[in-house]
Each structure stands twice: as C-alpha cells, then as structure tokens.
C-alpha cells in the first residue's frame, strides 16, 4: 500500500467506525514511517468532519457518530505520545464536565467525540463536577475553553455558580466558557454570562473554533 492508500483507508474505515481496521492501518502507517501528524490531519480529522456534516444533514445517526469517535480514539491512543514527541499541537484544549447535581452524560460524550474529531484535546471531568473541581482542573490543565453541560432546568443555575467560582479564582478572563445541554438556550447562556452556546455536537465544534479564533486574534492585536 502506498501512503495515499493508507490515508484513504484510514479515512474510509474511520468514517464507518471500523475500530480494528483503523488501528491496524495506524500501525502499518507508522511501520512505513509516515508522519503521525499526517494521519491525524489528513485522515482522522477529515473523517470525523465528514461524520459531523452527515449527522447535521440527518444522513448519519448517533450510533454511527459514537463508533466513528471510538475508532478515531483507538488510533489516537497510539498517535498521541508520538504527536507530542514530534511537537504537533492540537488546535486547542477543551475542558469538559457535567455540572454538579447532574448525572447526565450522553450529550456531553457526543460533544467530546466531535471536539476530538476536530483536533481538540478534550479533558473530560465526568458528571457531578463541582465549581471548585472545575477551578482546580483549569488551574492544572490551562485549557483554552471550558464547557459546562446540564440536562435539567434545576442544574442549569450551576453555570452561573461555576462562572462565579472562576471569577473568584481570578481565572474568568483566561478561559472561554461554553455552555450546553437539552434545556439550555442562547438567551440563558447570555444571561449567565457564558461566552458561547451551541445546540448540538457539531455546532459546538464550529462555535468553539470561532471563539478560539476570536480570542487569539484579540490577543495578537
């Protein structure tokens, strides 16, 4: 197989969520001395972008998104240390968690897949994440964006509590805050002072990228 065949195979097998094939091709590629960054940017990320596009059009469904994400994650386990060694940077670091009082995570996990699929490094704190835990994790990981997820109208007020905790810790301006979840609206996101909201997984990726670019252009200006 030529490197092009490998990339095409990786793309195709990731798109259909064939985890074993994706892992096999990853090893083959590395055996041929292909650059880990090329596998990521020329095959895995484009495949997940296509998954997101198809999902948005209603041509792909939740299980297909999950297995494609899993297939990519299997390859990334092999690639991640190599990418770090070769100095390839992710497009951004995203810290994610379901707020305190809330144990729902299906939506959040879909968002994680699409973010990873777009090249973000995602650190998932799981469910029931208290404000102080978000603060400690932001301190430790220095993410570009932190995402708060809530599935209940009763747990949505934790967005505000989390943002207050960030302010108190003096880190509100150092991180972009995004919020989401079934009952959340743009108006609610605005009212609690979040920087961004998105209604679903692929919209989150677009919004996250846009917010990141905005922030970086401001820093440079």
């Amino acid at each position: 197989m030529t490197p092009d065949d490998i990339l095409k195979g990786l793309y195709d097998e990731t798109l259909v969520g064939n985890g074993p094939a994706v892992l096999d091709l990853t090893h083959q590629a590395l055996g041929m001395d292909m650059a880990p960054g090329s596998l990521l940017f020329d095959a895995l990320i484009p495949a997940l972008e296509e998954v997101g596009a198809r999902f948005e059009r209603g041509d792909f469904f939740v299980p297909e998104m999950l297995i494609a994400g899993r297939a990519m994650a299997g390859s990334m386990e092999v690639l991640r240390p190599l990418l770090a060694d070769t100095g390839v940077e992710t497009i951004g670091k995203f810290l994610m968690g379901t707020v305190k009082g809330d144990v729902h995570d299906i939506g959040k996990n879909l968002v994680n897949i699409m973010l990873e699929g777009a090249g973000f490094e995602v650190i998932d704190l799981g469910v029931q994440v208290a404000p102080e835990k978000f603060v400690a994790a932001i301190d430790e990981h220095q993410p570009d964006i932190v995402g708060f997820s809530a599935f209940l109208t009763t747990t949505m007020p934790m967005f505000k509590a989390n943002i207050n905790a960030l302010e108190k810790a003096g880190m509100r301006d150092s991180v972009i805050v995004m919020v989401g979840g079934a009952p959340v609206t743009q108006e609610y996101a605005d009212a609690v002072g979040a920087d961004g909201y998105a209604a679903d997984a692929s919209a989150t990726v677009k919004r996250a990228k846009a917010l990141l670019q905005e922030r970086r252009s401001k820093v440079l200006a």
Binding site: F61, V62, P63, M65, L66, G101, V103, H104, I106, N109, V127, Q128, L152, T153, T154, M156, A182, P183, V184, T185, E187, Y188, A191
Partner: protein, 296 residues
C-alpha cells in the same frame, strides 16, 4: 410468587384514571412541554399560552389518558407559569394531570392549584430530593414518579436500579407515610442509539419491580429512540416489549397513531381490553371520521 397488584388512582375534578397491570395502559400525553420548542418558549415568556390549547386538543384527540404538564422555561417564574397552565388545562379537559417539574416550589404551587389527585413527575433517589418532594406528595395526597438514580450516577446495572427502587419505597412508605400504590417507578429507559444493551437492562428492571413490589411503572417513551431514524417504529416496538415485562404507563406523544395503536393492540393481547371492545370502538371511530372527511 408475584407481588400484589397495585393501583395508582389519579383524578381531575370529575374524572378518575387508574394505573395498574390489570388496566389498559395509561398513556400520559407529553407535548405540553417547552423543552426544545423555542417558539413555545418565546410565547410562554410573553404570557401567551394559546399554543398549549392546541397541544391539549391534539393529545386528547390522540387518546391520552393523562396529560403531562411541564413549564420549564429558563428565566421565567416557573411556579407561576405552571399554575396558569394547570388551570388552563383543567378548563379544557377533564383528564387528570401529571405535574412535571424539577423545581420544588413549582411542584408545590402546581399541587396547590390543581383540582384532583395529581401524579408528580418526578423525584430521584437522592436524599435531598426525597426530603423535599415526598412531604408535598403526602400533603397534597398525590402520587409520585420516582427515578432510581442517585447523586453519583444513572446506574447501568439492573440490580443497582432495583436497590435504589428499594430505597425509594422504604423512604416513601416508612418515613413519609405514602401508600405503596402511589409510587410509580420510572425504570430509566435510556437511548438505545447510545448503547445497544440498555433496552434489555430496562426490561430487566421493569420485571424486577413487578416481581418484587408489584409497583406501577412509567417511562419517557420517546427517549429510547433519540438519535435514531424511524423513531416512531422504534417507540412502537419498545412499548409492547415494556408492557409485556410489566410496564403500566408511559409519558409519550399521543399524536402518533402508530405508537398509540401498538399500545392499544398490546392492551388487547395482554387481556386488558375485554372482548376487544376498546379496539373495535377505536376502529369504528376511525371509520366514522374517514366517512365524514370524504362524503360519497
């Protein structure tokens, strides 16, 4: 040995509905809910409840037995909105109501305003939620939908959900004096698209609840098909399976004939529609409606 049959009695001012394994399945119409409906949210925020009248009419026409009312609009006074909606719905229909909120103040205001015996939706097995909601259920002589999840997780193992059900039953009956017949458990029907094993787990929980306590059960039926194509067909397959395992009600969209028909056909097959009289009556009503729509 099976546990005894339990009857959960719900009432409006004038009508009684009984949930039980020897009764027709209780269809709790779900559409009176602004979650994910921006147009309805905007209207409600401006105090315009006219869309609700249409939703009520559609659920009643579709054959709902009880109506679920949820007024969880962010950034509004949910209690006030819920009271207004309950009064409005009670003026439009004599069906009993399921008061759906996770805000304790809204539940209390709703129960205070409601005429009859309501079903409260819902309470988890978390200590603070039980302590806040169960006294209201007792005070207003209502029934309660309880979910076997706690502050740590939504358990993915049937045994854990049954253990939390046991906790709910113990706390509700022993600490708050709520009749066991008035506890309706939601076994947590999760989306099958996110994990192909959750259907079997939920069926196991339903069977376990039926065998151990005989409690009535309900679930958010539409949830099972989240993220999948052919949602109506999936919901219409899920409900008969759940009914066969012992589920006695569901919060579902009564507007979809495919799903309601599956439920009513299962009522007949399970022996809860004597001589098929309800099934035959529904057939005649449909014939009459068709004849009226296309005069010869």
């Amino acid at each position: 040995m099976s546990a005894p049959l339990r009857h959960t009695v719900l009432r409006s001012a004038t009508k009684e509905v009984v949930i039980g394994a020897d009764k027709p399945f209780c269809v709790i119409g779900e559409r009176i809910n602004p979650t994910g409906r921006p147009v309805l949210q905007a209207a409600l925020r401006e105090g315009d409840l006219s869309i609700i009248a249409k939703d009520v009419a559609a659920q009643v026409a579709g054959g709902a037995d009880v109506l679920d009312i949820n007024m969880g609009v962010p950034l509004t006074d949910e209690a006030e909105l819920l009271v207004t909606a309950i009064r409005m719905v009670q003026g439009l229909t004599d069906l009993p109501v399921c008061i759906d909120s996770s805000v304790v103040e809204a539940l209390e205001a709703g129960l205070e305003a409601y005429e009859g015996r309501a079903l409260v939706n819902s309470c988890t097995a978390e200590d603070d939620r039980l302590a806040a909601i169960l006294p209201l259920v007792k005070k207003y002589d209502a029934a309660i939908v309880a979910l076997p999840n706690d502050e740590d997780e939504i358990p993915m193992e049937a045994e854990k959900r049954l253990a939390l059900t046991e906790k709910i039953v113990r706390v509700a009956t022993e600490e708050y004096g709520i009749a066991i017949d008035d506890i309706v458990i939601d076994p947590l029907a999760m989306p099958i698209g996110a994990d192909s094993t959750v259907g079997r787990t939920t069926l196991e929980v339903i069977r376990g609840i039926r065998e151990r306590w005989g409690l009535n059960t309900t679930c958010g039926a539409s949830n099972v098909s989240f993220g999948m194509p052919g949602r109506h067909a999936l919901n219409a397959a899920w409900l008969p399976l759940a009914m066969s395992a012992g589920m006695t009600s569901a919060i579902m969209d009564a507007r979809t004939p495919q799903i309601v028909d599956a439920v009513r056909a299962s009522d007949l097959m399970l022996g809860n529609d004597e001589w098929g009289m309800s099934w035959i009556a529904a057939h005649r009503a449909r014939q009459a409606a068709e004849a009226a729509a296309s005069p010869a």
